[in-house]
């Protein structure tokens, strides 16, 4: 083969591999979105189809209208607007749970910033006794699987009187996310030269001002990575939420969506519409911060 032919062949191979990978990643999401606009009968029809034949918004109407209805065994068939399937009896919990998820995720992000940024700055730029040890100690906590922490967490949360309260999730999610957030930021702050810190302080900055006026603007990409990480972890977390929440007062979206599958009968169209709603906030966040994401996630990997 000529060199040019080899180059084209290589490009085509890479393109084919990329498309395959893209399809593999995106197909479930595409099916989720597509089926949320289909009626229950259309979803279960054979063969299944990607493009809805009779697109319907009734699944979403059911979600947003669920609060007004009381769904019981007797009424649920009649109440279901989407083509004779069922809507779950816990449907009306969906929107409140989304709000709970939102509160928890935003709180975790904000508290993460407040705790991790100063911690990372101190670990990266202040030489104190036990500095290395504290960095390793934080990382080691992340080696322990969450399931091993559930019981101690549970006892702790009960002592605090936070059971069935969103506070329980905020506290435990912080414990899970802060070590990794600090790790992301430490590696980035360490890549910024010490002399920059010194220059800022000689120029008249206190430690805090040096952090706020010099380091934070420079660390923006890794801050975005940290924000996304904390938000997504909180938004998606299931295990701890299942343990610590019992009522709609504190249940988060993954718990409520999961509960739809344990109802009398399962409505896939309804669940998929709920799934679409669950995907929206992270996607919006990703689009807003898109230009920072790649540089942020690789920050610290390569120094300089």
């Amino acid at each position: 083969m000529t060199p040019r032919g080899a180059r084209i062949g290589r490009s085509l191979l890479l393109l084919a591999a990329s498309l395959l990978f893209l399809g593999y990643v995106l197909a479930p999401v595409a099916w989720l979105v597509s089926s949320s606009f289909q009626s229950e009968s259309e979803i279960t029809s054979k063969p299944p189809h990607w493009i809805p034949h009779q697109p319907t918004l009734k699944n979403f109407e059911a979600i947003f209208g669920a609060g007004e209805r009381d769904v019981t065994y007797e009424t649920r068939r009649k109440a279901d607007p989407s083509s004779g399937g069922f809507i779950p009896s816990t449907a009306k919990n969906l929107l409140p749970s989304m709000w709970n998820s939102f509160i928890v995720a935003i709180s975790v992000v904000v508290l993460n910033l407040l705790v991790s940024v100063p911690a990372a700055y101190a670990m990266a730029k202040i030489r104190f006794i036990g500095r290395q040890t504290s960095i390793y100690a934080m990382l080691v906590t992340r080696v322990i699987p969450d399931i091993a922490l559930v019981v101690p967490f549970f006892l702790f949360i009960r002592k605090l009187g936070l059971l069935d309260h969103v506070g329980s999730l905020i506290v435990t999610y912080l414990a899970i996310t802060v070590p990794f957030s600090v790790f992301i930021l430490v590696s980035y702050f360490e890549s910024l030269p010490d002399e920059l810190d010194k220059a800022a302080r000689v120029d008249g900055c206190s430690r805090l001002q040096a952090l706020l006026r010099v380091f934070l603007p420079l660390a923006l990409p890794s801050l975005v990575a940290m924000i996304l990480f904390a938000f997504l972890t909180s938004w998606n977390e299931f295990l701890l939420a299942l343990m610590f929440t019992q009522t709609p007062a504190s249940q988060t979206m993954p718990i409520v969506v999961a509960s739809f599958t344990s109802d009398f009968t399962i409505s896939f169209s309804f669940i998929n519409a709920a799934g679409v709603l669950a995907v929206v906030p992270p996607v919006i966040l990703a689009i807003v911060f898109e230009r920072y994401i790649v540089s942020g996630l690789t920050a610290g990997a390569v120094k300089g």
Partner: protein
Amino acid sequence: MARIRFEGVGKRYPNGFVALEGLDLDIRDREFLVLLGPSGCGKSTTLNMIAGLEEVSEGSLFFDDALMNPVPPHRRDVAMVFQSYALYPHKSVYENIAFGLRMRNHPASEIDRRVRDAARKLEIEPLLERRPNQLSGGQRQRVALGRAMVRQPAVFLMDEPLSNLDAALRISMRAEIKQLHHTMATTFVYVTHDQAEALTLADRIVVMKDGVVQQTGTPDEIYEQPRNTFVASFLGNPPINYLDGTLEVEGREVSFRRGGLRLALPPHVAQRVASQSGRAVTLGLRAEDVDEHGTPRVDETVHGRVTSVLPVGSDQFLGVEVEGRPQFFRVGKEMRHREGDNVALVVNVNRLHLFDRESGRSLVW
């Protein structure tokens, strides 16, 4: 304006490493003081202590009569130029220079006036809107100088500011820094490991090694009257030559002897070591203190065989084996030496240095 005083200052790190020991130093107001030494000698630590960037673990540091130990850097009236320039990458050149003034709440009009003034002096006016990553090394260096200048600080600190520049630029910047010292009329403390920078810039040089001051003095004193072999070797290009030997006293004449080599010591040296016949000493002979044109005289001449000839443009370095030891001398380039030639070089005995072989301490100064 400030006088800086170190009294018994030491720096000990938590891991036990001692970076600085028992430093007593009085830096006069408006003086240009250079801290000179190899890396790890404690010179940067000393500078960082003046800036407040490192805590003083022992002793006291004063600005005029005010104890500065507990004062954080942003409350000290110091400005600093760093080796890496340490410009803020996210700010324009203008904002980099203005930052220190903004942090000290100067009025906007005054900030603007001072920034433009400094930019004009440093000839970086067209660059004010650029970001640091759009500048060359020399331009960044100027911005870093500007950032320190506009503050009009009481103390101006420089940490190897020229090390990252190419050789030609380094020499012209030396002149500019000297000029800057004249116009600013403030105390300058300058850290370098480059002897040429130290000799050209300093009013006084402090030579340091392993956290201990070896000698403090004017450039001439440091060069002409080194207190020990470390100081003597650190300055001079090519470095000073050493020959181990013994003292020989005959009446009032004292001479240095090594094998077949005998050099008469001048009276000011002779009188100090008159009673120490047989003492093991090290002779120091600066590369330029020989004269290949002189008429060879007894007891004032070294003989040897040329091992290398290294022309350096203005003159040439001659490698000569003297009494089994390789030595380097600086001679005029009109001499046509070849490897293997035998040469006789007349020594300027008045400029000989003599050190104790054991301790390396000067027996003269």
